[in-house]
């Protein structure tokens, strides 16, 4: 038997991959299926799941509620659609800002002298690997009324001799956007850098020889060749922003509610996991659709593991 195993390459491969397949099936795929199943279920009064088949949770997500103020059987209030739309817009804005900020830096690092390149990359990795929660806290300290930004602004105002009132920045949608951009910026810089680094110098020389100016070279050579990096970065930024709840929790207070907050509250405070599961599935489907169309259009390569 041992001899046969030695010769059978297919069985060897299966055995090597088996632990991974089992682990991922039980802890990633099975939970997803279970989430799908309970999203059609109902909540029992003590917060447990009753397995049944009802579309109530999805109807509620669309905005039709059964507990209405006026005593009607059904009423319409698109509160959850608003939350979904808000999350989508925030994820879009964050991604655009992160590309605008990350691209020049990635370009700078890719075109830097090879000896210095590692140092510059290292400087991007430090904030990336500093804990997510700690980074939100850092912005909380900067955005507070007594925080770093108001101190700096006050100092400038004093210098110019204009009166200054500290700005209320914490617990606003703007604070959440800044926090998101800060959290996810490195996830854009690294993939773009990886694709820019692969561009052969001779291509730039050829463009210059053929008389292209800097802008034309960028638009016709650099940008198209770095698209796989931009796409990979977008996936690495857009998807997590859609599902994150800490940033809005800490920097948005109770003012900015995103899908992530909605799901988290259903599981922990409201104790209605079935409704939370339905919201999570809608979130997952939304991100998968966006990712599918986006990658089908541009495609992404090994840049996805650049981080």
């Amino acid at each position: 038997m041992f001899q046969r195993l030695r010769e059978n390459k297919s069985v060897q491969g299966t055995l090597l991959a088996l632990p991974t397949m089992i682990w991922l099936s039980v802890l990633l795929i099975l939970p997803l299926l279970l989430t799908l199943v309970i999203s059609f279920g109902r909540r029992s009064p003590d917060g447990n799941v009753i397995f049944t088949f009802t579309l109530d949770n999805y109807i509620r997500l669309l905005g039709y509620h059964t507990n209405c103020a006026g005593g009607q059987a059904r009423c319409f209030d698109p509160i959850y659609a608003t939350i979904l739309w808000r999350s989508l817009v925030l994820a879009f804005n964050t991604t655009v800002l992160v590309i605008l900020l990350g691209y020049p830096l990635a370009y700078f690092i890719a075109r830097a002298h090879p000896k210095k390149r590692n140092l510059y990359l290292f400087m991007v990795l430090i904030p990336l690997w500093t804990n997510f929660v700690i980074r939100v806290y850092a912005w909380m300290m900067l955005l507070r009324k007594e925080g770093g930004i108001n101190i700096a602004l006050g100092w400038f105002a004093n210098l110019l001799g204009i009166p200054f009132q500290p700005l209320e920045m914490l617990y606003t949608p703007g604070a959440v956007l800044v926090g998101m951009v800060y959290e996810f910026l490195p996830f854009m810089i690294l993939p773009i850098f990886t694709s820019l680094e692969k561009i052969d110098n001779s291509l730039y020389e050829a463009a210059a020889d053929l008389g292209a100016n800097a802008i034309r070279t960028f638009l016709r050579v650099t940008l198209p060749l770095s698209m796989p990096g931009v796409v990979a970065g977008t996936i690495l930024v857009f998807i997590p922003v859609m599902g994150t709840f800490i940033v809005s929790d800490i920097l948005g207070g109770r003012q900015v509610i995103l899908v992530g907050n909605l799901i988290q509250r259903q599981y922990l405070d409201a104790r209605d996991p079935t409704f939370g599961a339905a919201a999570a599935l809608i979130l997952m489907v939304m991100t998968l659709i966006v990712t599918y169309f986006y990658t089908r259009r541009f495609g992404f390569g090994e840049e996805i593991v650049a981080v």
């Binding site: 030695r6 390459k9 297919s10 060897q12 491969g13 299966t14 090597l16 991959a17 632990p19 991974t20 397949m21 682990w23 991922l24 039980v26 802890l27 990633l28 939970p31 279970l34 989430t35 900020l101 020049p104 830096l105 700078f108 590692n118 290292f122 991007v124 990795l125 430090i126 904030p127 690997w129 500093t130 804990n131 929660v133 700690i134 850092a138 912005w139 909380m140 300290m141 900067l142 770093g148 800060y182 910026l185 020389e205 996936i235 998807i239 599902g243 994150t244 709840f245 800490i246 800490i250 992530g260 988290q264 599981y267 599961a277 999570a280 599935l281 997952m284 991100t287 998968l288 090994e302």
Partner: protein, 296 residues
């Protein structure tokens, strides 16, 4: 044409972005030396060393540890020490297991053809394309339904009842770490020259000896960087841990999150500063390993 020529726009943007990346971190570190207990305003660095802590209202005038007062305070905080212990236990166990399992899968995917190969390759991308919160609540649902079922069918009561804890956190961490280890090791295996192994076999080594003496040393740098990545992912994880932890299995990110919703003293900044230092050392060693591999 000088390949390293850069436009002033790129340089200005670069300086701006690095400033944006580091200003919050510098602020965080600075406030860890804050003399003010409430940590609302920066009241200067704690000025002096003394035999005991001298307070003036909410201001720390001097301390046995001097400017490092909050760091000493941290060392006396049992909750922090417990959370740090849990974080390390989980990270070390999960790293060892996910590295072994993930490396095996990378070898299988790179070297062999087998049924379900496509399935295993595709399933590696789940943690990348699905929001972490969906995986977190999925794991929570799985564990709570499973434990409910087992507790009632096996009639478990009291301490014997199964509940969320270190084990559920570790097991879930391994699930999302395996794909990252596999993808990193797989990337390393792509440039692997098979003729070394063939030479070893020609010279009479059996498969095991070939693996031990030739293959393993050659893929070791890739495996190590996969392991370090997995370790940092585990240390850093908030969302999965948030949904799968239970009483007694609080990790540092969960602990910090809990503090942010209550009172914040410069202790949190001291903890953050230590964390940033640990990250600095970890990333530095990762880079050194990668540099050595590139040279080899």
């Amino acid at each position: 044409m000088n390949p390293f020529r850069r436009s002033p726009f790129v340089i200005a943007a670069t300086i701006l972005v690095y400033f944006f990346l580091y200003a919050p971190i510098v602020g965080l570190v600075l406030y860890s030396f804050n003399a003010s207990r409430t940590n609302v305003k920066f009241e200067g660095i704690i000025p002096a060393f003394s035999e005991r802590v001298v307070m003036d209202g909410s201001l720390v005038k001097s301390s046995p540890c001097g400017p490092f007062h909050w760091y000493c305070d941290l060392a006396k905080n049992d909750d922090v020490l417990e959370a740090a212990g849990n974080t390390l236990k989980i990270a070390i166990t999960a790293t060892i297991l996910s590295t072994i399992i993930g490396t095996m899968a990378a070898l299988a995917l790179q070297r062999y053809d087998f049924k379900l190969k496509l399935f295993s390759q595709v399933s590696l991308y789940i943690p990348i394309v699905i929001p972490e919160i969906v995986m977190g609540i999925g794991a929570l649902t799985l564990f709570s339904q499973l434990f409910q079922f087992l507790n009632s069918t096996l009639n478990l009561s009291g301490d014997a009842r199964l509940s969320l804890g270190i084990v559920t956190v570790t097991v879930s961490h391994i699930a999302f770490m395996i794909p990252f280890v596999t993808l990193v090791v797989q990337a390393r295996l792509q440039g692997f020259d098979k003729s070394f192994e063939e030479a070893a076999m020609d010279l009479g080594a059996d498969e095991w000896t070939t693996f031990r003496r030739v293959t393993f040393p050659m893929i070791l740098p890739g495996v190590l960087s996969g392991a370090l990545l997995a370790f940092t992912l585990s240390l850093d994880d908030f969302v999965i841990t948030f949904f799968t932890n239970g009483p007694g299995s609080t990790t540092l990110p969960i602990y910090v999150y809990g503090l942010l919703r209550r009172i914040i003293t410069p202790q949190v900044n001291a903890l953050s500063t230590i964390w940033i230092l640990v990250v600095f050392i970890a990333v530095l060693s990762l880079q050194l390993i990668q540099n050595r591999t590139e040279k080899a």
